[in-house]
């Protein structure tokens, strides 16, 4: 390698666009991963004062999966500032109103609490489905690996796959299947 090119790093300071498929992912675990890319923590040039964060396009945020009974038990608090202005919204209610909000709030609260936080959030683009504007899709150059395997639903299997699935035993002839 040439002496001058030894330390050459193309596009070190360029903003990279990542894509992340949130289908069947835990938003609170994903927030930690997204934070790493949003703030540029994964780059060796990182410095808190260095503006080296990237853009992330998150798709399918409507299909996130909350662990346990979090849909019923997790509560989002809001206060208007007026007396009696407090509201408590359950996670499933919030998700019905805006399917991007749970992920957005999870990322927002996982970021460092400083003046840069709102500008960092502007680099996060969340979409409830896979319909992403084409100009955004053009600039994407990396996919962030999903944290969990997406399970395959039974109704998405084809007839052949179900028939060829190995059986432990055959049902007896008089057995009535629904």
């Amino acid at each position: 390698m040439a002496v001058l090119k030894r330390v050459q790093q193309w596009a070190t300071f360029a903003r990279i666009w990542h894509i992340y498929d949130a289908a069947w992912q835990n938003p609170f675990e994903s927030a930690g991963v997204l934070k790493k890319y949003l703030t540029g923590l994964y780059k060796p040039i990182y410095h808190p004062m260095n503006d080296c964060g990237d853009h992330i396009v998150v798709i399918n945020s409507a299909e996130i999966a909350l662990p346990g009974d979090e849909w019923k038990k997790r509560v989002y608090f809001h206060h208007t500032g007026y007396p009696g202005g407090a509201t408590w919204t359950l996670a499933w209610e919030l998700h019905e109103k805006d399917p991007t909000m749970i992920l957005k709030k999870a990322v927002y609260s996982s970021l460092d609490k400083n003046l840069q936080r709102r500008y960092t959030m502007q680099r996060l683009h969340i979409f409830p489905d896979a319909n992403v504007p084409s100009d955004m899709l053009k600039s994407i150059s990396n996919q962030i690996k999903q944290l969990r395997l997406v399970p395959k639903r039974l109704d998405t299997y084809s007839e052949e796959e179900i028939k060829s699935f190995p059986k432990i035993y055959d049902y007896p002839k008089p057995y009535i299947l629904k």
């Binding site: 330390v7 923590l41 994964y42 780059k43 060796p44 040039i45 990182y46 410095h47």
Partner: protein, 149 residues
């Protein structure tokens, strides 16, 4: 605190009130409002500032360590190795580089840093630390001292 002459410095320790206060006011010169003009208020804030300065000397070192670790971690992740595994493997190989040098290599000399991670991965495999996934290992032609024995 800068005294241009030795005479002024010696005067400031003496019984002369003006020179004693002058020493404090010099330290408070960059404060705002009465903190810099009234002696009885200035002295409180100067003492506080000196305490902060003392604590800050340790905090600065800790901050730098945190920054270096973040950068080395980032470099390690690019080559699929954990920070702690990396440091352990390097010390087993007798490569005694500190955090500052490793962070500088990760930032400015990515090729050299990759060579280090290759060595670390090879050593990790040889010692059976068994923490690196098989598909991350691409190192070949790396000689560590453990191989020679």
């Amino acid at each position: 605190m800068v005294f241009t002459t030795v005479t002024n410095f010696i005067r400031s320790r003496g019984p002369d009130e003006i020179w004693r206060k002058r020493r404090i006011f010099k330290l408070a010169a960059h404060f705002q409002g009465r903190k810099r003009n009234c002696y009885s208020i200035a002295i409180k804030y100067v003492h506080r500032a000196l305490v902060y300065a003392t604590k800050g000397r340790q905090l600065k070192k800790q901050d730098m360590i945190n920054l270096w670790e973040t950068r080395i971690n980032a470099g390690c992740q690019q080559h699929g190795i954990n920070y702690y595994t990396f440091r352990e493997a390097l010390s087993r190989c007798g490569i005694l580089l500190n955090r500052k040098v490793l962070a500088d290599l990760a930032c400015w000399e990515p090729q050299s840093f990759k060579a280090l991670t290759d060595i670390a991965q090879e050593r990790t495999q040889q010692d059976g630390l068994n923490v690196i996934k098989a598909d991350n290992i691409k190192a070949s032609g790396v000689l560590t001292r453990a191989m020679k024995k």
